[in-house]
């Protein structure tokens, strides 16, 4: 079986599981979970340095130990201007064009502000960023983002951190069918089967944080997610059977003992 890689802009990855680095109980658990997930891409947030903290180890210490591609995000931004400003700071820190664009429109649901996301995406693409926008599972928004030059589109499966799984598989499928850039399901995955379902819909990858970091055993869940993403990808590529209302026997009907010439009991 060939190892089908994933290309986003100028970047190529082997793993289709993207992981966040927030909410881990401690850095050592984060390190082990990231390793167990087999991920290539990890997301980080940009925040003010706590000037009262005393040189504590940061997530970057962990990330430097592995060979990860850092995907900075604009999480916590509620306006296009703040997201653009955050993206520029991220690029200054690491000299990377990659940015996971998030412009949040509502505190309770953390659903995106799509017009503001489009506005920020336009500016960032023009400034040479490789933009991966988080947005609703809306096929029209996906097309707009793609038309603006985003390198991938990242529809949510369900609200961030909700663990509800893929709430609208049909919309995700429509987005996948029309997209000319990779589709990464971002947010909402709760457990391994959710990740597999997303991958079976034909998306190019899944990005998750809470599902792993918030599990009772994050390292084990990371391993489960790795297997689920691979299984879902393989199942998609293998081409599943059609759903049928009635049974079709798996064993030959002919030659069952005591049957008549038509195979009836």
């Amino acid at each position: 079986m060939s190892d089908d890689g994933l290309k986003i802009g100028e970047f190529e990855f082997h793993s289709r599981l993207f992981t966040g680095t927030g909410k881990y109980p401690n850095l050592e658990t984060a390190r082990k979970a990231l390793e167990a997930s087999g991920c290539d891409v990890v997301t980080v947030a940009i925040r003010r340095v706590d000037l009262t903290a005393t040189g504590a180890d940061s997530i970057m210490t962990v990330l430097r130990q592995g060979n990860y591609t850092i995907l900075p995000n604009t999480a916590g931004c509620y306006t296009a201007a703040d997201a653009i400003r955050t993206a520029r700071l991220a690029r200054e820190i690491l000299d990377t064009p990659l940015i996971k664009l998030e412009v949040i429109g509502d505190e309770k649901t953390l659903f995106p502000d799509v017009p503001a996301t489009l506005q920020a995406a336009k500016t960032l693409v023009n400034e040479g960023f490789t933009v991966l926008p988080y947005f609703n599972d809306d096929p029209v928004a996906a097309r707009r983002l793609e038309d603006l030059g985003c390198a991938a589109v990242m529809p949510l499966a369900a609200p961030i951190g909700s663990g509800l799984g893929v709430r609208n598989p049909f919309n995700i499928e429509i987005i996948v069918q029309h997209a000319r850039v990779p589709v990464i399901v971002d947010a909402g995955v709760g457990t391994a089967s959710d990740a597999a379902v997303a991958m079976e819909l034909g998306v190019s990858g899944v990005l998750m944080n809470t599902a792993i970091a918030g599990a009772k055993d994050p390292v084990r869940m990371a391993r489960a997610m790795k297997a689920a993403v691979q299984a879902g990808r393989d199942a998609f590529l293998a081409g599943r059977i059609e759903r049928k209302l009635y049974a079709t026997a798996s064993s030959p009907l002919k030659g069952v003992i005591g049957s008549d010439q038509h195979g009836r009991p």
Partner: protein, 66 residues
């Protein structure tokens, strides 16, 4: 002179550079980005970029996030 660094007031000596500020904050070897009055100061300019009284400085870094 008086600066506002990450939202908090700080007193520093006259003509303090960005580099000197980062050293005094213990961040000389940390991966950070610096904004002065909402304009990014490129790393290559830290040594020569002088701060002025009343400047608002933001020093940011990467933290765990999703």
């Amino acid at each position: 002179m008086r600066l506002v660094v990450n939202g908090e007031e700080r007193q520093v000596g006259p003509s303090t550079t960005v580099k000197q500020l980062l050293v005094s904050l213990g961040l000389a070897d940390t991966l950070v980005a610096v904004e002065r009055n909402e304009e990014i100061v490129p790393r290559a300019q830290y040594e020569h970029a002088e701060l002025h009284d009343g400047d608002r400085v933001e020093v940011v870094h990467f933290v765990g996030g999703g």
